[in-house]
C-alpha cells in the first residue's frame, strides 16, 4: 500500500470533515478544518505514526485557530525583514539559529574547527526556552523505541556527559534512577492476573522485561532490586514497592547551567553569540540560503543550522523547507525547598502501565543543589509560548507522585513553572539536511530526552554538515575547558578569606537564601548576563525560599551599576523588571 493511500485511510476516519493531503518526498501536508485542537493533534499524530512518513506539516485549522495573531506575526516579520535585509552584519561559515542546549552544543562542537560561526538567539540570554524549564535529568536511554534516532543519540549522549561535565565544569551528579514497581503498576490489567499471579508478575516478570528493554536499547547494567534492598537504597520509597529496577547511568544537571557553559566555551573558542537577535527571514538564491535576516541585519552564511526549538517549524517554513509542524507539549514542574533533599537519593519513578496521559514520563528528581523536583506533566497546548501553570495541575502533580514518596514534606513547595516541549508529529528527533534547501540542516523535534542526548546530537549534527559539504579542519587552539563562577556556597572559610582579600565583594552576601555574593553577580555580568533572570541562572541569586523577595532589588541595582542603565531599565527576562521613577525622581 502506498504512503498516500495509508494517509487517506487515516483521514477517512474523520469523515465529518473535508480533509485533504499532499505528499512530497515523504513529507505529508494536511489541509482542512476540524472542530477542536485535540483533533488537530490526534490527526497529526496518527499520520506521523505511519511507516515511511518523514514529516507531517499540519495545515489543518481548528475552530478558534488564532488566524489574526498568525497574520500579525507574519506582518511583523515582513516589516523587520524589509528594514534589515540591506544591512550586513558579517559573513559566516555556519549560522546556528537557537541558543538552547542544542544550539549551544552544536556551536561549541563546531568551534573545534577553523570556521566562522554565529549563534543567533531571539531572547536576551541563552537557555530561555525548554532548556530552562525541564527537570535536568540525563536519561540512560531505556525508554525510547529501539528504531528511533532519539534512542541512538540518548544512549550515546548519556555516556558523553561525564566528559562534558569535566571539560565544561558544570554540576553533574550520576545519581542513578530507581523505577518502582508497586501494586498500582499494572492496575489496569489486574483482571487478567487473578490472585497471587498479579504479585508474582510484578515481582518476578515485569522487572526483567524492563531490564530486557534496556538491553535491547543498548543500555546495560540495569539491576532488579527487591525487598529491604529497595529501602536501603531509597529509605522513603513507597512502602508497598514490590520490586524496583535500578538504572545506574541516570544523572542530574542544571540544564541552564549546561547551556550557559556551552555558550561560554563556544564564545571562548571564537563563536560569535548574538542575543536579542530574531530571525525574520532568509535571503536565497534558488535553493540556497545566502543570508539570514534578523532585526540586527543580515548574517551572510554558507550553512544554516535550525535549532530553534518550538519555533523550528516557522524557521523551516521561512527558509523554504517546511517538513514538520511543532505541536507544543507543556510540562509543569514543582520545585521544593533545599531542606527536602535528604528525602530523595535517586531519580525516582513509579512504573504505571499504560502510562497515564497527563503525567507520563514524570517522576521525582533530586537536583544538583539539593532541591527536589516533581513532574513534569504532559499537556498539548495550541500556544508554543504558553508557560502558564494551572494551580490544579500543581495539585495533580502533588497528588500523583506522593504515592512514590509518602512521607515527603509536600508543603515545602517554593516554586512551580512550565516548559514547552518542541514535539513533532513523528515524535522523533529530526536531524537531517533540508529536503528543499541545499544548505540548511534541521535539528528539530528535540523533546525529551533532548538534554541527555545533546552531546551526541551535536556530534551527529556536525557529521551531517560535513556530509553536506562543510570542510572541517581542526583548530589547534581549541580549548575544551571552561571554568565555572566560583561560589561562596561551596567554599571553605580559608578559600573565602583568600578571595575576599583580593576582592572585598566576595564578602558581600547579596542573596541570603542561596548564599550568593556580589562578586559572583558581577562575574556573571562580565560573562554576558544582561538580565536579572540571566544572573539568577548563573549564580542562583533568587532561587531560594523567598524567591528573590529580599535580593531582587540588590541584584537589579548591581545590574544597573555594571551595565550603566537606570534601575527602571533593568530587564527581568525580556521586559523591564520595574516601571519608572516616582514624581520628580531622575537617574
Amino acid at each position: 500500500m502506498g504512503l498516500e493511500k495509508k494517509v487517506r485511510k487515516v483521514l477517512e476516519r474523520y469523515s465529518g470533515y473535508n480533509l485533504s493531503c499532499e505528499i512530497r518526498d515523504g513529507v505529508v501536508f494536511l489541509y482542512g478544518r476540524v472542530r477542536s485542537y485535540e483533533e488537530w493533534v490526534e490527526i497529526g499524530l496518527e499520520v506521523g505514526r505511519i511507516k515511511g512518513v518523514e514529516g507531517v506539516v499540519n495545515k489543518i485549522v481548528w475552530d478558534g485557530y488564532p488566524a489574526e495573531k498568525v497574520r500579525e506575526r507574519e506582518e511583523r516579520r515582513r516589516r523587520i525583514f524589509e528594514e534589515n535585509k540591506g544591512r550586513v552584519v558579517g559573513s559566516y561559515d555556519v549560522v546556528v539559529i537557537g541558543g538552547g542546549v542544542t544550539g549551544t552544543a552544536i556551536a561549541r562542537e563546531l568551534s573545534r574547527y577553523q570556521l566562522r560561526i554565529a549563534l543567533l538567539e531571539k531572547a536576551p540570554d541563552v537557555a530561555t526556552g525548554a532548556t530552562k524549564a525541564n527537570n535536568g535529568m540525563i536519561h540512560a536511554g531505556v525508554e525510547p523505541p529501539r528504531s528511533t534516532l532519539k534512542r541512538k543519540l540518548n544512549v550515546k549522549g548519556c555516556r558523553m556527559y561525564e566528559r562534558w561535565a569535566r571539560e565544561l565544569n558544570f554540576k553533574y551528579k550520576r545519581v542513578g534512577s530507581l523505577w518502582l514497581i508497586t501494586p498500582r503498576t499494572l492496575e489496569k490489567y489486574r483482571r487478567f492476573l487473578p490472585g497471587p499471579l498479579y504479585t508474582l508478575v510484578l515481582k518476578y516478570v515485569l522487572p526483567y522485561i524492563v531490564v530486557l528493554k534496556g538491553i535491547i536499547n543498548g543500555v546495560r547494567g540495569l539491576r532488579v532490586v527487591r525487598g529491604r534492598k529497595i529501602f536501603e537504597m531509597e529509605p522513603y520509597a513507597a512502602r508497598d514497592a514490590l520490586a524496583a529496577v535500578y538504572v545506574p547511568w541516570t544523572a542530574i544537571v542544571d540544564p541552564y547551567e549546561v547551556a550557559v557553559a556551552l555558550a561560554e566555551n563556544a564564545a571562548a573558542n571564537g563563536v560569535e553569540i548574538f542575543t536579542s537577535t530574531e530571525v525574520v527571514g532568509f535571503l536565497k538564491e534558488g535553493d540556497t540560503i545566502k543570508g539570514v535576516v534578523t532585526n540586527r541585519g543580515v548574517f551572510l552564511c554558507r550553512y544554516v543550522v535550525n535549532a530553534a526549538g518550538v519555533y523550528a517549524d516557522e524557521i523551516a517554513e521561512m527558509a523554504g523547507s517546511p517538513e514538520y509542524t511543532i505541536h507544543p507539549r507543556k510540562g509543569v514542574l514543582v520545585l521544593f525547598h533545599r531542606s527536602t533533599g535528604s528525602y530523595v537519593r535517586h531519580c525516582l519513578a513509579e512504573i504505571i502501565l499504560p502510562p497515564p496521559p497527563r503525567t507520563k514520563g514524570g517522576g521525582i528528581n533530586p537536583t544538583p543543589h539539593g532541591n527536589v523536583m516533581w513532574g513534569p506533566t504532559a499537556v498539548e497546548v495550541p500556544d508554543k509560548e504558553d508557560v502558564s501553570v494551572d494551580p490544579e495541575e500543581v495539585q495533580l502533580v502533588l497528588a500523583k507522585y506522593s504515592t512514590i514518596l509518602s512521607e515527603f514534606p509536600r508543603d515545602r513547595v517554593i516554586r512551580y513553572f512550565a516548559g514547552v516541549r518542541a514535539a513533532t508529529f513523528t515524535e522523533d528527533f529530526v536531524i537531517r539536511p533540508a529536503k528543499w534547501v541545499r544548505n540548511l540542516l534541521h535539528v528539530a523535534g528535540i523533546q525529551s530526552p533532548g538534554l541527555a542526548s545533546a552531546p551526541a546530537i551535536a556530534e551527529y549534527a556536525v557529521q551531517k554538515l560535513r556530509e553536506m559539504g562543510l570542510e572541517l579542519r581542526e583548530k589547534p587552539s581549541f580549548n575544551p575547558f571552561r571554568e565555572p563562577i566560583p561560589s561562596l556556597r561551596d567554599m571553605e572559610p580559608e578559600q573565602a578569606e583568600e578571595l575576599i582579600r583580593r576582592d572585598s565583594r566576595w564578602g558581600h552576601v547579596v542573596c541570603e537564601c542561596e548564599l550568593v555574593t556580589e562578586a559572583e553577580i558581577v562575574e556573571a555580568i562580565r560573562r554576558g548576563a544582561r538580565t536579572v533572570d540571566a544572573v539568577k541562572r548563573r549564580t542562583r541569586a533568587g532561587m531560594g525560599e523567598c524567591q528573590g523577595g529580599r535580593c531582587l532589588i540588590k541584584v537589579a541595582m548591581i545590574l544597573s551599576r555594571e551595565l550603566g542603565v537606570p534601575l527602571p531599565a533593568v530587564l527581568k527576562e525580556e521586559a523591564p523588571l520595574f516601571d519608572g521613577y516616582v514624581r520628580g525622581e531622575a537617574w
Binding site: Y416, H508, E545, I553, L567, A575, V582, R583
Partner: protein, 417 residues
C-alpha cells in the same frame, strides 16, 4: 580570619536584635551585633510611615526614627555592630558557640557563650498560596515594593493590584496612591481587612482606595510583563466560586499574603520548630531548644507592633543573663499549649526554676466579642482576663503570674472563650 570574642552575639540588626543588644549591654555584658544588610534598623528603614513606638514610647514614630533611638543607644553603650556581615556557619565548640561569618572585611569567627537570633521574617510568595498563570515581570511582594518606592524612588507599575488586606498591603497601597500610581485595587479573601482598624481608616478609607473583599487572584496573565490577573470570588471557606472569574487589567501585582519567620539557619542547627508559627520552639525567656541560643522578635512569629517584638528581646536579654550566670532550670519544663480557639502561642514552655512572670503572645483563630482569655490546667481554670474583642488579626499579650504555671507542672492550656 578576624576573631571576635564576646559574652553574647546577636544575629540580626533589626529592632529586636538592637533591643536585645542594648539591654544586654545595659546589664553589663559584652555583645556584638551581626547584620547582613548595609545598615542597622532592619525592616524599619523602609517603613517611613508612622505608628511605631506607641506602646513603648507613647508616641507614633516613623520606622527610621524608632530604629535610630536604639542605634544611638547602641553607640553610647559602645556595642560593636558588624554590618554587611553574614553568618554562614554555626557550631558548638567546647561549650561556646562559634559563628563563622563573611564580610567585605574578611572572614570572621565570633565566639560567645550565648547567641540571640533576631533574623526577622520573610514574605510569603505567590507560590505559597498557589497562584497560577505565568511568571512575568511585574509580580512582587509588598515589602519589596515598599523598599523600591521608599528607598529607590521607583514604581512597580502604573496600574497595580494588591493582594492581601493585612497591614503591609494597606500601607503599601497608600504609598503607591501618594506616589502617583494611576489605578489601584486591593483584594483579599476575608469579609473585611485583616489588618489593624487604624490602618483601614488611614490607608484605605481616607484615600478612597478601591477594594474587594472575598476575592483572590487565581492567575497572573502576561508573557513578558504582567497584563492583568484573573480574579475570582470565594466563599466563607475561601473556596473559589465557579463562574465568578473576572479578568482585571493591570501591569503589576503586589502580594502581601503573610510573613514567615526566617528560621532556616536555626532549623539547620537542629532547633525544634513549631509547625504553627514556623519559628523556633522557645521557653519563657525565649530560649530555643538549643541551650544558650535565644530567638526574639518576628523570628518567633510576626508581631503586629514592633513594641511587642522589642519586648521579647528585653525578656530574652534577662534570659541570657540567667544562662550566663548558670541559674537553675526545672527538671521538667511545663508545656504551654494553645487551645482550640488559639492559632498560635509563644512561648511554648516554662523551663526556668524561678524568674519573672510569663509574658504570652497569642493569636486567636476566631472572632469574639467580649471574650475571656483563659488559662486552664487539668484541675480547672487558673486565670482569666477579659478583652473587648478578639480577632485573628490582633495579637494578644497576656501576663501570666508565674506561680500559677508552677502549680500545674503537667502543663496549661491557653484559650479564647
Amino acid at each position: 580570619m578576624i576573631e571576635v570574642g564576646k559574652d553574647v552575639v546577636v544575629v540580626g540588626g533589626g529592632p529586636s536584635g538592637l533591643a536585645a543588644a542594648v539591654r544586654l549591654a545595659e546589664l553589663g555584658y559584652s555583645a556584638a551585633v551581626v547584620e547582613s544588610g548595609d545598615e542597622l534598623g532592619g525592616i524599619l528603614i523602609q517603613c517611613i510611615h508612622d505608628g511605631f513606638g506607641t506602646k513603648l514610647f507613647g508616641k507614633a514614630l516613623s520606622g527610621p526614627e524608632f530604629a535610630s533611638s536604639f542605634i544611638e543607644r547602641l553607640g553610647e553603650l559602645g556595642v560593636e555592630a558588624w554590618t554587611r556581615t553574614h553568618v554562614v556557619r554555626v557550631r558548638l565548640e567546647g561549650g561556646s558557640w562559634v559563628l563563622t561569618a563573611v564580610s567585605p572585611r574578611g572572614v570572621l569567627r565570633f565566639k560567645s557563650r550565648a547567641v540571640v537570633y533576631a533574623t526577622g521574617c520573610r514574605e510569603r510568595t505567590p507560590f505559597e498560596i498557589r497562584v497560577g498563570g505565568t511568571r512575568p515581570a511585574g509580580v512582587y511582594t509588598a515589602g519589596l515594593v515598599q523598599r523600591l518606592v521608599n528607598l529607590y524612588g521607583v514604581l512597580p507599575g502604573r496600574r497595580v493590584l494588591i493582594v492581601g488586606g493585612g497591614d503591609v498591603g494597606m500601607i503599601v497601597a497608600r504609598h503607591l496612591h501618594l506616589e502617583g500610581v494611576e489605578e489601584l485595587l486591593v483584594v483579599f479573601p476575608e469579609p473585611w481587612f485583616a489588618g489593624l482598624p487604624r490602618n483601614v481608616q488611614q490607608c484605605i478609607l481616607d484615600f478612597g482606595i478601591p477594594f474587594r473583599p472575598r476575592t483572590i487572584v487565581k492567575e497572573i496573565v502576561g508573557k513578558e510583563r504582567v497584563e492583568g490577573a484573573v480574579l475570582v470570588r470565594v466563599d466563607e471557606k475561601w473556596q473559589p466560586i465557579k463562574g465568578t472569574e473576572e479578568f482585571y487589567p493591570c501591569d503589576a501585582v503586589v502580594f502581601s499574603v503573610g510573613l514567615v519567620p526566617n528560621a532556616s539557619q536555626l532549623e539547620e542547627l537542629g532547633a525544634e520548630i513549631d509547625p504553627r508559627t514556623r519559628g523556633p520552639v522557645v521557653n519563657e525567656y525565649f530560649e530555643t531548644s538549643l541551650r544558650g541560643v535565644f530567638a526574639v522578635g518576628n523570628l518567633l512569629t510576626p508581631f503586629d507592633y514592633v513594641d511587642d517584638a522589642v519586648e521579647t528581646a528585653f525578656i530574652a536579654a534577662e534570659g541570657v543573663s540567667k544562662h550566663l550566670s548558670g541559674e537553675a532550670r526545672r527538671d521538667k519544663p511545663i508545656p504551654l499549649r494553645p487551645g482550640p480557639n488559639v492559632r498560635l502561642l509563644v512561648p511554648h514552655r516554662v523551663e526556668w526554676a524561678s524568674g519573672r512572670d510569663v509574658t504570652l503572645f497569642l493569636r486567636p483563630s476566631v472572632e469574639r466579642e467580649n471574650p475571656r482569655i483563659s488559662v486552664r490546667s487539668s484541675g480547672g481554670e487558673l486565670y482569666h482576663t477579659r478583652r473587648r474583642y478578639a480577632r485573628p488579626s490582633l495579637m494578644e499579650r497576656v501576663e501570666l503570674p508565674r506561680g500559677l504555671v508552677e502549680s500545674s507542672p503537667e502543663g496549661v492550656v491557653v484559650d479564647v472563650e
